[in-house]
């Protein structure tokens, strides 16, 4: 990031000048994003890449209008121009606004923090990652005995994000969050049939994450199971039955149908033309969404998580938020603007993915609170059902009500035991049905990484989502192509 102390003085002067020029609020964020990646296919390197640099994003509030300006030209003139641009944009917006923007009053932080790396990402060499990619590919290839592994691609990326945030009302946050990321894609082929699996690994921390993930053994085992599903999978039963969803699907559902609809900017309509609105309305808080087992938590403070942060990009301390609690719609994700509109306090949900991006209400790590059963107990009294362990295809509508997941690794449950594999079962449910029919959950909480998209220009932020295995009762299942 260069020397933040050099910039700090410059930024404080910018903030002063912004206030003198009529702004009631000025926020300056210096942000750098640096990292590297390697991409491999079938055990061979395709290429190496690095990215880096950064710049400044400035927000100004003038008479209820918001302006944002950004530059990566770090000389004094360019920074002055960016400030002037943010202030004039805000003034221009203000002239057209009947509903003036305000910011909630908050206890803002002055703090500095860094996510811990046991082994520095900066020391992770391309040579090591090349060997790692080969090792994973080789183990997966060896594990596939009955089908052909026609494609195996893998990439590893490092990302070190540093921010210095100063606001005119006293926030002063300096942070450094390193992240490691791996993604892979493979295709199994046999007699004209194919099966494809894409998955990813991510967390905040250092190179030690690679050892913790144990990618080669996890993916090899999965490839073997997928071979069986591909070769021997039967068509799914087309009837209403109990469905056990694996942690991966549960996690995604929490992100899509709990996290997104509980973003306050969606609820209020700011994202109407982009990511859409929400089935949740300002008057929905306190109303029922599902069974008493439905408690969904959003927590940026989980150490090692992809969505990790301790203070948001407006300087508000981060904390766990209970989106749905014991079956009721409870607490939305709020930044200072939406908190002001809803007469609440911000709960520290503002995130920006690059210096050139405005902070928006974003998720971090979203999960369903686990229960106390074992997996065996979860399925023991299901006489006939289906277990969907993983997925590929999924989507959800723009108010987050109509959702679909297509199982990849799936099985029949018969008399309380996992039975024959099933190919491509389709579960298409409403959010109300999903949470209303959530009958049981086990104690095995697991998180999965993702990149959450929102905003315009588009901002992808790293998140985790997770949950235990759950049992939904009386769910209609279809086959792909029905």
């Amino acid at each position: 990031m260069g020397d933040p102390f050099v910039y700090e003085d410059v930024f404080l002067k910018l903030i002063d000048r912004g206030l003198k020029n009529g702004a009631s609020y000025v926020e300056v964020r210096l942000q750098t994003d640096e990292g590297s990646s390697i991409t491999m296919r079938n055990g061979k390197v395709l290429g190496f890449s690095t990215f880096g640099g950064g710049g400044v994003g400035i927000r100004a509030l003038v008479e209820g209008g918001m302006g944002f300006a950004s530059t990566n030209k770090m000389d004094g003139d360019s920074l002055d121009k960016a400030l002037a641009s943010a202030v004039s944009a805000a003034r221009s917006a203000s002239r057209l606004k009947k509903r003036k923007i305000g910011l909630s009053d908050e206890r803002l932080a002055r703090a500095s923090y860094e996510a811990y790396q046991k082994k520095r990402l900066e020391d992770l060499s391309f040579e090591f990652l090349t060997e790692e990619g080969k090792r994973v590919e080789s183990e997966v290839r060896d594990s596939v005995k009955r089908t052909k592994l026609s494609v195996f691609s893998i990439s590893f990326s490092t990302h070190i994000q540093e921010k210095l945030i100063l606001t005119s009302d006293g926030a002063h946050i300096s942070s450094k969050v390193p992240r490691l990321y791996a993604s892979l894609n493979f295709v199994l082929e046999d007699g004209g049939k194919t099966m494809q699996r894409w998955r990813e690994y991510s967390g905040s921390g250092g190179a030690e994450l690679l050892e913790e993930w144990k990618i080669e053994s996890e993916v090899s085992e999965e490839a073997k199971r997928l071979e069986t599903v591909m070769l021997f999978g039967v068509s799914p039963p087309k009837e209403k039955l109990d469905v056990v969803l694996g942690q991966e699907i549960v996690g995604l559902a929490m992100h899509e149908s709990s996290g997104h609809p509980m973003e306050a900017d969606r609820i209020l309509g700011r994202e109407a033309a982009q990511a859409g609105e929400s089935f949740v309305k300002p008057e929905s808080f306190g109303t029922k969404i599902g069974s008493p087992l439905v408690t969904v938590i959003e927590d940026p403070t989980i150490p090692g998580s992809s969505g990790f942060y301790l203070f948001d990009d407006e300087g508000v301390p981060a904390k766990p938020r209970y989106l749905y609690k014991e079956g009721y719609i409870n607490e939305p994700l709020l930044n200072r603007e939406t908190a002001f509109m809803l007469a609440r306090k911000s709960n520290g949900s503002a995130r920006a993915m690059s210096y050139a991006a405005e902070p928006l209400v974003r998720m971090s790590n979203t999960y369903l609170e686990p229960g106390d059963k074992s997996f065996e107990e979860l399925i023991e009294d299901i006489s006939f059902g289906i277990y969907m362990r993983s997925y590929m295809e999924w989507n959800i509508d723009d108010i987050r009500w109509n959702q679909r997941y297509v199982g990849l690794e799936s099985y029949i449950i018969k008399n309380g035991e996992i039975g024959d594999p099933v190919r491509n079962p389709v579960m298409e449910v409403t959010t109300g049905e999903f949470y209303g029919k959530l009958f049981a959950k086990d104690k095995n909480l697991k998180f999965f990484p993702g990149t959450c998209g929102k905003g315009e220009p588009h901002q992808g932020v790293p998140v985790w989502f997770g949950g235990p295995n759950v049992r939904l009762i009386g769910i209609g299942i279809k086959s792909l192509g029905d």
């Binding site: 290429g47 493979f186 109407a272």
Partner: protein, 442 residues
């Protein structure tokens, strides 16, 4: 300093250490107005310069992206990679940069009016929003984006090119009670008539969809709007990239040029040379002159999109679509037909008109199995009449099946460019027979 001067300066500072190198520099000035219920939620402005390097040495391939144009910082990063280059493995996707057929290109297609509006873009929104309200909208949200860029490329093979471009993108979503309509337009220049049309169409669709119609999931004949066709065309463009075939992300990997992959009614073009579309470019990232080309013509696969390296793998030639790693399309165009928009319902007779979509996700890229969710109107048509809106439904199909079932298109096409259509796409309404339409059955 002009982008080309910066690119040349960077190239000169690093070229001795690499067997071949390309340096691209892009200067951008951009403004964006995000509209929320008819008012600006925020006005954003950017002034940036970014540098991109593609470095080759003895078969090793490195790509650098830096949010700076500081030659010292860039040389530092290139030097760091040079020191480790020989320790690492050669790339399976390395091919030397091509010698340019045209060593120097300097194009200026920027609309000066876009540059003038950068400082006060809201003036361009007044009429489109007013049109949306007059046509039936009760509230309007959306985004207007204006951009001028100066893109430069210098390579060790002797290419130097620069071009000034401008772009404008507007999309508006009009709401009437719980119904909505969404429309978009992308262009290289300001066209006030087309901007008003965005508002009018959004308002009209919102108004048209206010009546609710009964619906049961099943197979339907459908009309997909230019917004939906634009979204599917973007996925098809990704799968048309030769690298996508190599890494398991394309159903086209199963086919070779000349094979039938769609119905005869469907042709699909990459149009870098259409100056009216915002993605136009006269040279690619390897300094190869671009040209318009069919990817699919009258249902037959003509070519995948290549850079020099993928072309070498496929025993082909670059199609002027580099992307240093991933070949990419510039602007997309779908062929036109003979229908008029007002004839669509009658021609469809019984079926569903899907006016917008999002979340196109695939179960299997190699097979092309996907589903996508409608947003805004999905209009039920019976006996040639629009009965009402069936709400949010899902189109579930596969690319081979859907493309083979395209029967007719409208003559008129729209230049679509918005959140779900990142590559500007000129697309018609398309009539497709026998498509699975689903939604939850509660």
């Amino acid at each position: 300093m002009l982008a080309l001067e910066i690119a040349s300066q960077i190239l000169n500072s690093i070229k001795r250490s690499w067997s071949d190198a390309a340096v691209a520099v892009i200067e951008r000035e951009r403004s964006l107005v995000k509209v929320w219920d008819g008012e600006p939620a925020v006005i954003q402005r950017w002034s940036t310069v970014d540098s991109y390097l593609r470095l080759g040495i003895e078969g090793r391939l490195f790509i650098i992206e830096l949010a700076t144009s500081d030659p010292r910082k860039i040389a530092e990063e290139a030097g760091r990679l040079e020191r480790i280059a020989k320790k690492i493995e050669p790339s399976d996707l390395y091919s030397p940069l091509p010698s340019p057929d045209v060593p120097s290109m300097h194009q200026s297609c920027a609309d000066r009016r876009i540059a003038e509006y950068l400082q006060n873009p809201v003036r361009l929104l007044e009429e489109p929003i007013s049109e949306a309200m007059s046509a039936g909208g009760e509230r309007v949200s959306g985004t207007l984006t204006l951009e001028v860029t100066n893109r430069a490329l210098a390579t060790t093979t002797g290419f130097e090119g620069t071009e000034d471009r401008s772009s404008l993108g507007l999309h508006l979503r009009a709401f009437k009670d719980s119904s909505s309509g969404h429309w978009s337009f992308g262009s290289s220049n300001i066209d006030e008539g087309a901007l008003k049309e965005v508002g009018r169409k959004a308002g009209e669709i919102a108004d048209l969809s206010k009546k609710i119609a009964d619906f049961s999931p099943g197979k339907y004949d459908v009309v997909l709007s230019p917004m939906v066709m634009g979204n599917l065309a973007n996925v098809l463009a990704m799968m048309s990239s030769a690298l996508a075939s190599m890494i398991g992300y394309s159903f086209l990997a199963k086919y070779k040029p000349g094979d039938e992959v769609a119905s005869e009614a469907f042709s699909f073009y990459d149009r870098p040379r259409d100056p009216s579309l915002p993605g136009s470019a006269s040279f690619d990232d390897e300094g190869v002159e671009t040209w318009d080309k069919a990817v699919i013509e009258r249902g037959k696969l003509i070519t995948l999109l290549h850079n020099t390296a993928t072309a070498s793998k496929f025993g082909s030639k670059s199609t002027g679509n580099a992307g240093w790693m991933m070949p990419r399309a510039w602007n997309l165009e779908i062929s036109q037909g003979d229908l008029k928009e007002e004839e669509l319902a009658e021609e469809l007779k019984n079926g569903i008109m899907v006016m917008n979509n999002w979340y196109t996700r695939l179960q299997n890229y190699v097979e092309g199995q996907f589903s996508t969710v409608s947003r805004d109107a999905a209009l039920l048509v019976r006996n040639g009449e629009i009965i009402g809106n069936v709400g949010r439904v899902r189109v579930a199909s596969s690319f081979p099946r859907l493309l083979s079932s395209i029967e007719q298109m409208t003559r008129e096409r729209n230049n679509v460019w918005w959140w779900e259509v990142e590559i500007p796409t000129r697309a018609p309404f398309s009539l497709i027979r026998g498509v699975e339409i689903t939604r939850p059955e509660v």
